[in-house]
């Protein structure tokens, strides 16, 4: 069971955390909502809970809860630029279908 961050994404998280001034890492998760059933959660993490799973790459901690990990296993999180926008992209092998805009997905 693993989640990986690309180096680009890790750099971005680091700079985000240092600008913000606090936070232990990046929390990833999924929750049910949106038109295709599930949506990603991408937040700063201030506190690691007892049952959280923590991965560490490029000096950045990625925190997730065990339930979300089932949907995120094998996911690679990248930071890319598309046209004028830049942001985080989830390459998730579990996704079967996603909605047109890609904000939600199903597994």
């Amino acid at each position: 069971m693993t989640i990986t961050l690309t180096e680009n994404a890790a750099q971005r998280v680091k700079s985000f955390l240092s600008t913000r001034g606090r936070g232990v890492g990046l929390r990833l998760g999924v929750r049910t909502s949106g038109c295709s059933g599930m949506a990603y959660v991408l937040e700063v993490c201030d506190e690691i809970a007892a049952d959280d799973v923590v991965f560490e790459q490029h000096d950045v901690k990625v925190i997730t809860d065990p339930k979300s990990l089932l949907y995120l296993d094998g996911t690679e999180v990248d930071f890319t630029r598309e046209g004028l926008n830049e942001g985080f992209k989830f390459n998730n092998p579990n996704v079967k279908d996603s909605c047109g805009c890609g904000e939600s997905f199903s597994v």
Binding site: F16, A39, F88, K89
Partner: protein, 625 residues
């Protein structure tokens, strides 16, 4: 897939969460609210199916009535029923008196304060009355969208000044609404027709409402709508047409002159109905009961109706001509004409205006609703329901903004026609040694000299650390928000002391004044350049005198021979005698002379300073390492 951003803990946005936004046309006679849902815009009706809400509020001891109910009572209860409150927004009692026939209410007179209308429910201000109208409209949107509104866009006439815009915002705040933006009415109409999706163009917006007429010329380019000119008549509209038809009935039905209020109202209603029917029919029959119990039957043909109203349409063409002249355009340069306001449903109006501008006007969107719809489209974008690439509309500053600098000159910080919102900073410095305070005089206008521009505000920055003249760095920041409201702040860079001012009412200028200021700046351009040059030289000369005098007193006497002292003194007094004159060349020559004479003093002072710094050290202490 979509690109995601990091959120704060627990604040990830749900996908496809649509925020609730609405556009409000807060009109003189009628008001409307529109929303965008699923890419379609619609205006919202009340429980009776009426989209237009009469902009009338009635205050009784028991309740506040808004709309049709209040409108119905406006004749029997005139003092407690406020109509056309928009004409009072942001106005002082003196302004209202100037408007002439508007003084139908009892105002509690307190000069210099916001006028308060005395009603059965106590005193109310125009802002409070408008807030009631807004609340009533917002309720429709809340019911339709199922929750509190995240934000609204409210439209205002292009000629609304700052005080009137601020009053409109205050009314919205009082109604518990978050104003995303105030949008000019003609701009909203252009947006409703999608004219902002084109590359560029010059558009005429012809707005003939119930009681007011406005015509505006907009130029759209690079995402910015610029109001080139506006004109109108604040007492001309559909009501006048109803009045003409009532007169026609009186004449034709031989009703004589003893017409009471009730009959007059009945005639006006009949006139309104005939007017509306004649937009689709060629002939309309009338049946009027005379006071003596007999009846009169008549009919009116469209051709005759058109002859009746032609003089009224002619009156709207005068402002049309004026805006063209003001904008320096002829009709062939107008890309599109947009019709707004219920009276533009009359085929004759469309025909005459189309003829005047030489192209058929846009009439596809209901002219009563087009402004609200444009506002709703903007609200939907501003609240964040659209992707970033959807353009945001911008307005521009009508006149440059700046501050006064030494010599009574205006230094422009934000130039005219800059799209707003805008923020610009500029650094200024002190003029005298040890200066610890600075007066900041905020100006608006295009002229070079302070006295020719408009003064907006003054404030002072204290606590500047004492330094030699020119060493302090004062950053002055001008910020104009999307509604054209100006804030100015000054910050001393080393110690960080700060002072600021928000420029509120009296900031606004009427279009006529703006135009006059622009014209003046053209007419006086070369004169202004000369005046600026002179002031600059004078300031420079004053600075030289100041600096040389200071240097001379701090040890100059010891460093100069009596001959040199004499020369310096005479160069100084020559410049002192000249620097208030108007002869730029003479001042410049005297200043050069003084500076040449003082050069040796400066050199020697430098030598002394270096000697002082070096004495007691060995040469190799300074070499390389």
């Amino acid at each position: 897939m979509a690109l995601l951003q990091i959120s704060e803990p627990g604040q990830s946005r749900a996908p496809h969460a649509v925020r609730r936004a609405a556009g409000i046309d807060l009109g003189t006679t009628n008001s409307l609210i529109a929303i965008t849902r699923g890419g379609r815009c619609e205006t919202l009706a009340d429980s009776d199916g009426e989209h237009l809400l009469p902009s009338v509020v009635r205050y009784t001891t028991a309740e506040v009535q808004v709309g049709a109910q209040a409108y119905a009572a406006s004749v029997e209860d005139p003092f407690n029923t406020v109509v056309s409150v928009k004409r009072l927004m942001g106005r002082s009692l003196e302004d209202i008196r100037h408007q002439g026939n508007q003084l139908r209410y009892r105002f509690s007179a307190q000069p210099g304060t916001t006028p308060r209308i005395v009603t059965a429910a106590g005193e109310v201000t125009a802002i409070e009355v408008s807030a009631e109208i807004l609340k009533s409209l917002a309720q429709r949107a809340r019911a339709k969208l199922g929750g509190e509104l995240d934000g609204v866009v409210i439209t205002v006439p292009a000629y609304f000044d700052d005080a009137q815009r601020q009053a409109t915002k205050d009314a919205a705040r009082l109604a518990g609404l978050n104003v995303l933006r105030l949008l000019n009415e003609p701009t909203a109409a252009a947006v409703a027709y999608g004219l902002d999706q084109r590359e560029q163009g010059v558009y005429v917006i012809y707005d003939l409402g119930g009681g007011t007429f406005d015509v505006s010329i907009l130029r759209f380019s690079r995402g910015v709508f610029e109001v080139l000119a506006t004109a109108g008549d604040t007492a001309l509209g559909g009501d006048d047409i109803d009045g003409l038809l009532a007169e026609w009935i009186v004449a034709n039905a031989a009703l004589g002159s003893d017409i009471d209020d009730r009959l007059q109202r009945r005639l006006l209603r009949a006139g309104k109905r005939v007017k509306e029917l004649l937009s689709t029919n060629n002939i309309v029959g009338l049946d009027i009961a005379r006071p003596d119990g007999t009846a009169w039957q008549g009919k009116l043909r469209r051709r005759e109706f058109e002859r009746l109203i032609d003089p009224l349409i002619d009156r709207t063409l005068v402002p049309c001509q004026r805006v063209l002249r003001d904008a320096g355009l002829d009709p062939s340069q107008i890309a599109e004409v947009v019709m707004v306001g219920g009276s533009t449903r009359i085929p004759r109006v469309r025909e005459r205006i189309g003829g005047f501008f030489g192209r058929p006007p846009h009439v596809d969107i209901d002219p009563d609703r087009v402004v609200a719809i444009g506002a709703a489209i903007q609200a939907d974008i501003l609240v964040g329901n659209k992707r970033d690439d959807d353009m945001l509309l911008l307005d521009v500053l009508p006149l440059s903004l700046g501050i006064e600098t030494m010599g009574g000159l205006m230094e422009k910080v934000i130039l005219r026609n800059t799209p707003i919102p805008a923020a610009r900073s500029q650094e200024f410095t002190t003029f005298k040694d040890g200066q610890t305070a600075m007066a900041i005089h905020v100006l608006q206008g295009e002229r070079e000299l302070v006295q020719d521009n408009r003064s907006l505000a003054r404030f002072e920055l204290h606590g500047i650390p004492p330094m030699v003249a020119g060493a302090a760095r004062i950053q002055v920041t001008f910020q104009v928000d999307a509604d054209g409201l100006l804030g100015v702040s000054a910050r001393e860079q080393t110690r960080g002391v700060e002072s600021s001012v928000i420029v509120k009412p009296s900031y606004g200028l009427s279009d006529g004044e703006i135009e006059r200021m622009l014209r003046d700046s053209m007419a006086h351009a070369s004169e202004d350049v000369g005046a600026r040059k002179l002031r600059e030289v004078q300031v420079e000369a004053a600075r030289s005198i100041e600096a040389v005098t200071a240097a001379y007193q701090q040890g100059g006497r010891q460093l100069l021979s009596s001959q040199e002292q004499h020369e310096l003194q005479s160069a100084l007094s020559r410049l002192e005698a000249l620097y208030n004159s108007v002869d730029v060349d003479a001042i410049t020559r005297a200043m050069d002379q003084l500076e040449r004479t003082a050069a040796s003093l400066a050199e020697r002072r430098m030598d002394v300073a270096i000697n002082a710094a070096l004495s007691g050290h060995r040469v190799d202490e300074f070499s390389g390492q």
